[in-house]
Subunit: 187 residues, 2 copies
Amino acid sequence: MQDLLRIHIEKIVPLSDEEFAVVSSYFTPKKYKKHQFLIQEGEAVAYNYFVLKGLLKLVYTDDTDKSHIVGFAMEDWWESDFRAFYTQSKATMSLECVEDTEVLCLTLEDYRKLCNAIPKMERFFLEKAYFGFIAAQQRIISTMTSSTKERYTQLLEQHPALVQRVPKSLLAAYLGVSRETLSRLSP
Amino acid sequence: MQDLLRIHIEKIVPLSDEEFAVVSSYFTPKKYKKHQFLIQEGEAVAYNYFVLKGLLKLVYTDDTDKSHIVGFAMEDWWESDFRAFYTQSKATMSLECVEDTEVLCLTLEDYRKLCNAIPKMERFFLEKAYFGFIAAQQRIISTMTSSTKERYTQLLEQHPALVQRVPKSLLAAYLGVSRETLSRLSP
């Protein structure tokens, strides 16, 4: 199962068997059931998660108790409340299983040790961070300039497997529209 | 003037005089007048820019020719059309001077050479990329959950110097409201 991590990393930096053994030693596997929380708002965020199997939703709850879906994560994706993780502050979001999920967990301390032990892993994380930033900026632009129908079409083009798999009510919460509005947009 | 770059980098990684001389050798200084373009939509993006002096706006123009301000950059900030820069594709945004501006320019090739020459610079760029990503994610959440007045107040709290300095018409375009609506929100 950890092979998925190796394939994922080697898309950016090649690793010898010895190097991957070192990388792998910093991660702890965990399993969660559907509806379980990996991160709860208001609590400490111990890990950055690499998803081996399953589906997660990252949720922000506003002052009026309304839930907004900030993002999803499935196989081969990283997810956390990154601000809370990197600044070691309390979570402002929750991370919850939409399906039974298996993850590899990395603490901030082990992340730093890993980068010291295998410096080229810093290049890997740098590239992931850049493309995370670019995707977030594209989403900001899309929110500023596109209709809900256009944003739905973009999501379908970029992540067809995700759209297939995520319950329609959650897709609606991600796009910021009602379930009924989304039904009218679906092809 | 390049001292600003050294102070900026040393907030994250310390540099010896020799190391900073190497870092500095990869940057080219350039000066632009108000209204000049550093990046034009549809053209190649040669540089990532570190702002020494002045004020820039990053603009996305939609299919109906409406301009949306994606971000601003002033002293001590980095700016580019990052997607176009890192993927060496054509710009989908423009970067234009709001004031006379002085920048240090870094090509993608020199960025890679710099990271190879001084590997700890990778840590510096990694931290900038993380916090860029976190800021973009916070902005997505803010757009999902906050009123224009709340977003204006947040901007004022986070970047008071920027709000003072940016013409009100541009602030309105950044917040996605009319100049009149913004006037009603200003304290």
